[in-house]
């Protein structure tokens, strides 16, 4: 079913909207959540919460493409859940990906005093737009979808070492791009 028809069902407050959303994007939502949450039950709850959040926000929103909207909600809910349930222990894939990204910022440099998250998002968007498509996908899959290096290696038919080096190069490019933007010195 087309996105616009699913959205129309949400506007009609038809419960079929949820089942159509699940039919079309259920796997993508679960994958996004399961990359961050390792517990199957947490993934299921996060998926249900995502559908509820869509129900609560559509209408008034008309998000096209719907896939990005639902995956964003799933990711945010999963990240919040990780913070809530793993305050004391790390989630290997999600935290490792964040550790890597943090390497782009010199230690002792406090980003928060320098800019708002949305400004940084604008910079990262600009950086991503300039990246070759394959590098962009790799970056987004690692740092947005929180995919493991092993999974990315299997998907792209590369070795984990090659993926790690490619990611290292992309992070270097990001660091240089942030420097160029005048954010880092």
């Amino acid at each position: 079913m087309e996105d616009s028809k699913i959205i129309a069902l949400f506007y009609e407050r038809s419960e079929q909207a949820i089942s159509e959303l699940d039919r079309k994007y259920g796997a993508a939502v679960k994958k996004t959540a399961s990359n961050i949450l390792k517990n199957k039950q947490d993934v299921e709850e996060c998926t249900s919460d995502t559908y509820l959040a869509v129900w609560d926000t559509v209408p008034p929103k008309k998000p096209i493409p719907l896939i990005s909207y639902v995956c964003k909600i799933a990711r945010n809910l999963a990240v919040n859940r990780v913070h809530a349930i793993t305050a004391a222990k790390r989630n290997a894939t999600y935290d490792l990906a964040l550790d890597e990204l943090e390497e782009c910022i010199p230690s002792g440099f406090d980003l928060e005093t320098e800019l708002e998250a949305r400004e940084l998002t604008v910079m990262i968007n600009r950086f991503l737009a300039d990246l070759p498509a394959e590098d962009r996908k790799l970056f987004v899959r690692r740092y947005w979808y929180s995919c493991s290096v092993a999974e990315l290696a299997a998907i792209t038919h590369a070795t984990p070492n090659q993926i790690s080096v490619r990611l290292f190069r992309i992070r270097e490019k990001l660091r240089r791009a942030l420097m160029k933007e005048g954010l880092l010195v």
Partner: protein
Amino acid sequence: MNRELLSKAVGNIDDRFIAEARFSVPEDASGASERIVHMKKKRIISLALAAALILALGVVAYAANWFGIRGLLRQDSLGDTVVYHDEDGIPNIEIGHHSGRLSISEAQDAPEEYREWIEKKTAAYEEWAAYYTEIHTLPEPYAPFIGLSILEEKPDGTVDIIIERDESGKKETISVSAEEAKKLLDRLEAMGTPYGNYGNEYGVFDAESEAKLLEIASKYGLTPRQSGESYTCATAAGNRYRSVDDILALLNAQNSGSVFSKAPSFFDSVVLYGNSGFYFNAYMPLTNGEHPLITGRFTPWTEMPAVGDQTMDIRVLNVEGVEERGATAADGTEVTIIADQNQVTFYAYLESGLFVGNWTLAHNSDRYALTEQDVDEIVNMLIYSNMG
């Protein structure tokens, strides 16, 4: 804290990038095959069917020089590990599936007149790949790793290196001298910094590796492609922004004429390699109002293959289950079309090189599945004889 800010900033990146990077979910593995429109199975080639095609679709099936999926299928990829989703949508890894990968840049088999190029490119690639692996692998005890941090020097003059070997989260600490740590840091920084004109494309990071690349290429009569110039219509803020017309003008200028007979409605990205080679992600306007996202790549026969090119291959879940057919495009070029329920790949051997186009269901946010008629329409939107 930087960490939360980064998480939040990355979490809000452009929807387009999120949609682009979404994964292909093999529907037959997730038990949801009813969700998509299956393309009509059609293993050709009988003369009767070919005649029907001429009448119905205006394309011609042909038997001469027929390579079908073989033309692009990497034999070394057969039965590779694949990632699929179980009935709950949870990703799993399976080994020994009937999967394979189609190269989008290098012909794997071809008519006689092009085989010499395949042999030269294969030999050059093998030589370069061996060297590439050698220069891109850290020595033991650092390799293998998925995460590596070099800490500050301690008062006793040693430096701790924290290594994560796998996804388990376990960390290993190695103490080395400050000099050794500096060497490692320099090596990592060098590996992460592209060098010269070929750095981005071939992973060249110093004069020595560049010289080696040129030596191997020259030995086989090939030329490396330069770092591509990339353009996009996706954002007006970036310095790569161009209108569709501007991008078409740039693309046509490095080829022998117009590459598209019908202009795409939007370019997500275009990379021009300066040697007539190019790569594009474009939304193609169909007469039925749909705008499927098509990827295309033209690789000159004389282009030296790069190690990273393999990561751009197209995965096929069941190589024995694809449909194969031939078509003659509007400019007379013979095009091979390979399709399964998740994607369509079309390619053409050209005098100057190889063109491969691809459409993948998962990359199209509205999950519109192409019909055969749509595929023929897309195939005819390109002027193959002007490539190169």
